[in-house]
Amino acid sequence: MFLGTSSGAGKTTMAAVYCRHLASKGVRTAPFKASNLSLNSYATSEGGEIGMGQAFQAWACGAEPSVEMNPVLLKPSGGRMQVILRGRPFAEASVGQDPDTEMMAAEAFRAFDSLSSRYDAVVCEGSGSPAEINLLDRDIANMRMVRERGIPAVLVADIERGGVFAVIYGTWRLIPEEDRHLLRGFIINRFRGDPSLLRSGIERMEELTGMKCLGVMPYADLRFPEEDSLSEGRGRLEGGDLRGAFMDNLDELLEIARESLDMRALDRIAGG
């Protein structure tokens, strides 16, 4: 499970990179995001609607996008929220009037279990930050999945705005103590400069939390599908065919990841 310390931290892209990595080694892999709040959606071949991020991750796996990869899709529109379940419109809810959490959680577990039975690996992505203490009882996409299915998790933290050590430590602190053992590592994303400058901070973080630093990803001027309404479209994207262009960029990023991250440690975490 890739969890983000904020929106736009790079979860979607890091999950896609890892999907690509596993697929290139011949592992049958599927992406999964329990619940997605997004206006960027994709129509699967079965005619179901899922978040664009999961379609992109499915392509990265060499798999056909399916509704199980994103069983709950929430599409805000004006003062209302359209709830898409298993790819089909289920209800319109007013903002503030939340759809039934338990019902959505049940859908999410069913979809996850189905993917797990059919694939060798399921690469999961969280939603927003797992440490929103005002939303914990309604949050199914982050620690609820991790806890109830025993999924090892990695934090992805964006360093671009600063405060990266604070947010890694703060996120870890706000995760209930009994679940923290599932937080196995962290990735510092979008760094500009010489990573050795961060060394003392990283060592301190590993000491404080017991999580392993899996590496520092450099800032890459590459464009990927929007993770959510807050991400800004930016970066390079060339070529006419969108899907092909995304995959070319992803291969370029996978090369960077293999140079910058400890992929073997990541594989060990994923392997349990």
């Binding site: 930050s129 929103e132 405060g163 604070a166 703060g170 996120t171 602190r173 706000l174 400058l197």
Partner: protein
């Protein structure tokens, strides 16, 4: 001396006056100042809390108390007058007068309190929080000054005394009602020159170029701490409150011991701290708790409150989380502040990240987004007009605009090279005579025929560079010097006033063009800028030239063919109104009793 005594005699006879709104120089120091003693009865007091000896033009020294605010406090004025009356003093030369000052100081002179506003990240809202607090406290009748020990920014302004400080501290000083911001409010200004090197400005003057390693290795442990301390102390001696702004996050544990911008500055100024977190990106509680807990014990004790900032939608949905955060962190949440929809200049180019176009007016203005763009706040006043301003990097977009502006840059030579390589130079030249083109500072230098850099002072190596050739001007970088000054000018074409300021290295050495402005400073007059009205070409060194309506209206009149609405609004007044609205948003969302308690003000 005799003329001062004569003025003081008049003041003594007149009695208490309060703010003199009718005076053309009012307020000379701060909004609401007491003008009873425009001329000081104690001059020269030789009290180093209030002034200092400076060198005089004729050699020797002269007592300078231009920065003294003590004599403009109402309670001080009233006390002095009451002592005059009690002791029967009517003559300004009375030997008992100097004895009144120590008693006035004993009663009213207090070292101010410093409060540091920290951010959990960049763009957390530190700058606007400082501005809001400055305005709130100023409206309550307190004397308040902004302070940022170390600011990295390419948007700077020139003070009345000719020092360069960050634009945002000038804005905050305006929020505080201060007429003349000075370098004490931003004693260290870092102006990035490349990816790793910055020009370090100390107390408004160039100090040297440093890379990251040398800055933290030599500058900070060397002169850095002392600079921060003496300037913070200077402000604390004069103002009731000094509202300090941190830089980035205070919890960067990899450079914690070398910091003089956040906790390092808070320690030097003995400031309590408030942490501001931008909730917009999510993870706000994690940012808040993590920042707090990564501070060293001695620093964490200074942290007295948290502000959750920039909430869009219903702020009450954050309440539960805020209460839980208080429990876990042991620090109160002072307020949940909604997104404030105000129009104010922005601190760094990061703020228009993801927002490359502003406004939705009819006149479409292309601002060339140079890689080292500087002082782009010059463009902000355009948002008062019927314009859409777009930052453009793709030359193919240029033909679609009604006007083009080439802004300032930290490096004219390198950005000129970018203009040529990217095709932007040709795209702009192709629009000559079709739409108005304005170059400001570095952009103006580029518009010329030749740019000579024989010593490689601006570029990385010596060379002569061909400009865009729109003007028949030549610029030369001959010595490592910098012109920094405020200018009062008139737009020659209409005779209307324009204010601006120059900050540049490289001087114009040849000019075959008609001047755009006539600068008339109190000690010098000269022609400035270049214009070809028939080809709609305009160039000037004056930053801030669009602030007053005169030039803005003139420039846009070439673009709009009289179609768009071109306003007459004064930009300063617009900024002032927006500062009030910003302060209203904060004042209604913060626990003001708790905040005033942190500042040591009893209800």
């Amino acid at each position: 001396m005799r003329s001062i005594k004569k003025k003081v005699a008049e003041e003594m006879k007149r009695g208490h006056r309060g703010p003199d709104a009718g005076c053309p120089y009012h307020p000379s120091h701060f909004k609401g100042q007491d003008c009873t003693f425009c001329y000081c009865p104690f001059y020269p007091c030789n009290d180093t809390d209030l002034g200092a000896d400076i060198g005089s033009k004729r050699g020797g020294t002269v007592w300078d108390c231009t920065d003294c605010l003590f004599i403009h406090r109402t309670n001080v004025c009233r006390f002095i007058l009451s002592e005059f009356e009690r002791q029967g003093i009517t003559d300004p030369g009375d030997p008992r007068i100097p004895g009144i000052l120590p008693e006035a100081k004993r009663r009213f002179f207090r070292t101010g309190r410093a409060l540091m506003i920290l951010g959990a990240t960049s763009d957390a809202g530190k700058s606007v929080t400082v501005a809001a607090l400055c305005r709130i406290l100023s409206r309550k009748g307190h004397l308040v000054a902004p302070f940022k020990a170390q600011n990295m920014s390419l948007n700077s302004r020139v003070t009345r005394k000719g020092h360069e400080i960050a634009m945002i501290q000038v804005l905050q000083a305006m929020a505080a009602g201060i007429k003349n911001p000075d370098y004490h409010m931003n004693p260290i200004l870092l102006k990035p020159k490349g990816d790793t090197v910055s020009q370090v400005m100390v107390e408004g003057r160039p100090f040297g170029d440093y890379d990251v390693g040398r800055y933290y290795g030599e500058f900070v442990p060397g002169p850095g701490r002392e600079i921060v301390k003496r300037n913070a102390d200077f402000l604390k001696a004069r103002y009731d409150f000094v509202i300090m702004e941190g830089a980035g996050s205070p919890a960067e544990i990899n450079i914690y011991d070398r910091d003089i911008a956040n906790m390092g500055a808070a320690r030097l100024a003995d400031a309590d701290c408030i942490l501001v977190v931008n909730v917009e990106w999510g993870g706000a509680f994690a940012y808040a708790l993590g920042t707090l807990e990564l501070l060293e014990d001695q620093d964490r004790r200074r942290l007295k409150g948290i502000i959750l900032n920039n909430v869009r939608g219903d702020p009450s949905r954050m309440e539960d989380g805020a209460r839980r955060l208080e429990e876990i962190a042991g620090v109160p949440v002072l307020g949940i502040v909604p997104h404030a929809d105000v129009r104010l200049p922005t601190e760094d180019s990061g703020s228009f990240r993801g927002r490359d176009s502003v406004g939705s007016g009819r006149i479409k203005v292309a601002a060339i987004k140079l890689p080292r763009i500087a002082n782009f706040t010059d463009l902000d006043p355009l948002f008062l007009e019927d314009t859409t301003v777009k930052f453009v990097t793709d030359p193919r977009e240029i033909p679609g605009f009604d006007a083009i502006i080439i802004p300032g840059t930290k490096n004219t030579v390198e950005d000129l090279a970018w203009m040529k390589e990217s095709g932007m130079a040709d795209a702009v030249k192709a629009m000559k005579g079709k739409v108005p083109i304005l170059g400001i500072c570095g952009g103006y230098q580029m518009m010329g025929r030749t740019l000579r850099d024989p010593k490689g002072l601006e570029g990385s190596r010596p060379g002569t560079h061909e400009g865009l050739g729109l003007f028949d001007t030549e610029t030369e970088w001959d010595e490592y010097s910098k012109r920094v000054r405020q200018d009062s000018a008139v737009l020659i074409s209409t005779g209307e006033p324009v204010d601006g300021y120059e900050i540049h290295m490289g001087m114009k050495v040849r000019d075959g063009e008609a001047p755009l402005f006539r600068v008339d400073n109190f000690n010098e007059s000269f022609d400035e800028g270049s214009v070809r009205e028939d080809e709609m070409l305009f160039g000037s060194y004056l930053h801030g030239l669009l602030d007053r309506p005169a030039f803005r209206r003139y420039f846009l009149s070439f673009a709009s063919s009289g179609e768009g609405e071109v306003g007459t609004e004064d930009y300063d007044r617009d900024v002032d109104e927006n500062l009030d609205r910003l302060a209203d948003v904060f004042e209604s969302s913060l626990d003001m009793d708790a905040l005033m308690g942190i500042l040591g003000v009893r209800p």
